[in-house]
Structure formats: C-alpha cells, structure tokens
C-alpha cells in the first residue's frame, strides 16, 4: 500500500521534472551523450557489475563530466568527446566483468583437470596396480 503511494509520488516527481525541463528549454543531449547514458546504465545493471567496480566508477565519473559539459556547452565538441569517452569506459567496465567471470571459470576448470590427472596418473604409471593397493 505504502510502496504504491511512494511509487506514484515518484512518477509524479519524474513527470514534473520532465515538464520543468521542457519549460526551461533544457538542451537536447547529443546522440553521443544519449548513447553514453545507455551504456553506463547497461554496465551498472549488468549481473557482473560487482566484479568490475573500479572500472564502473571510472565510467560513471566520465559520464558526470560529459553531463557537466552538456550543461555548460550543450551540443559542443567537448560534450560529444566526453560522452564518447564515457561510453568506451562503460563498455570496458562491462567487458571487465566478463573477463573476471571467465578467469574464474578457467581457474576452476584447470584445478579440476589437474586434480583429475593427479588421481589418474599414479595408477597408470605404476604397473600391477601397486598404487591401488596402498
């Protein structure tokens, strides 16, 4: 019940903010900034985000710089370049999460292979099942 009211209030605040931005003639973000926002959001909500927190923080900082450029010099080359950097850093954050996950899979697979080999090799190297008898 309470959660519903809070959700409704949030929607109203969001709608009011959009309306105010429209009345105030807020500048339209460049396509680069729009793309950077999407990419940073994608990296932030990725299931692997917690494996690349420093990279994600860097991407968010770069996006904040791009947003600041947008406020100061909307549509400028400075805004577009800062947004480009933010987008690339967000992509890097997402791939870094994947890298960490891949590395973990590789490590565990190697350990399993080594354990398996260790359990098989002594029996094979000693004739007559000597190892098995001990």
């Amino acid at each position: 019940m309470m959660r519903g009211k809070v959700g409704s209030l949030r929607r109203w605040i969001f709608a009011a903010a959009l309306g105010l931005a429209g009345c105030g003639g807020a500048a339209v973000p460049s396509p680069e900034l729009a793309a950077a926002r999407v990419e940073v959001s994608r990296a932030r909500w990725s299931p692997l985000a917690e494996r690349a927190l420093p990279e994600l923080a860097e991407a968010e900082e770069a996006l904040a710089q791009a947003e600041a450029e947008h406020l100061q010099r909307p549509g400028s080359a400075a805004e577009r370049d800062a947004a480009y950097v933010a987008r690339r850093k967000a992509e890097r954050a997402r791939i870094s999460g994947l890298y960490a996950a891949d590395l973990e899979v590789l490590h565990r697979a190697r350990c399993s292979v080594e354990r398996r080999r260790a359990s098989v090799e002594p029996k094979e190297s000693l004739p007559g099942g000597v190892a098995a008898s001990h």
């Binding site: 990725s46 950097v85 890097r92 791939i95 870094s96 994947l98 996950a101 590395l103 899979v105 080999r117």
Partner: protein, 129 residues
C-alpha cells in the same frame, strides 16, 4: 623519425604559445596503445577495431597539436586512451574465454564431473554480455 621529432617539437612550441601542451594525456594514450598492442589486440577480430580507432584519434591529436589546438588535441588523446584501454580489455577477455573453453573441453574428455557447471557459468557470463 627526424621529421616526427621535429613535428612534435613544433607542436609543443605552438602548444606552449596557445596553452599548456597535453603532455600527460599524450603519454597516457601512448602507454595505453602500447599495452593493447602487447596483448595482441591487433590480431583479435573483436579488439582490432578499437586499437585502430585509438591510433586514428592519436594521429588526429598530433595534427591538432601541430596547428595549436591544444584543447582539441587533449580531448582526442582522451578518446585514444579510452579506445586503447577497451581494446586491451576486449583482447584479454577474448583470450581468457578461449582458454576457458579449451580447458572445459579437456576436462570433459577426462570425465571431470563439474564440467557442466563450468559450462553453465560460462553461458551465464555470455548472457550478461
């Protein structure tokens, strides 16, 4: 080589007149490009495009420096660094993924029981992409 050095000197002199030359940004971009090359980003289809973009931005930055546009050069160097860092990460991820797949295959031949779990995790990671 001499012409490159001269161009750099001219760029730095012009930069000194127009504003501080982005020496730190240039050095960081160069290091990032070298690091990406060292991990073989050039040879991997997924990462080569980012390395090319990094080099292109770096070249353009030097051209901007030569005409005294230090601010434009600085921004291009930041782009070059970001592209090169992404190239490095993509190349690393790609080679670790290949190694993981090969090891899982080997584990499967050896009859290791946790292979299915490892494959499921790898699939999950792919889905997160």
């Amino acid at each position: 080589m001499r012409s490159v050095t001269s161009a750099m000197l001219v760029a730095l002199m012009v930069g000194a007149c127009a504003g501080a030359a982005p020496v730190a940004e240039m050095s960081r971009a160069e290091r990032a490009i070298s690091a990406a090359q060292e991990v073989g980003a050039e040879d991997q289809p997924a990462s080569t495009i980012y390395l090319l973009l990094a080099r292109e931005a770096y070249t353009k930055a030097r051209e901007r420096l030569a005409v005294g546009d230090t601010e434009g050069a600085r921004r291009l160097l930041l782009r070059a660094e970001a592209d090169a860092e992404l190239a490095l990460t993509v190349a690393r991820e790609s080679s670790v993924r290949d190694a993981a797949e090969r090891t899982l295959e080997e584990a499967s031949h050896l009859g290791v029981s946790c292979v299915d779990q490892g494959r499921a995790e790898a699939r999950e990671a792919r889905r997160a992409r």
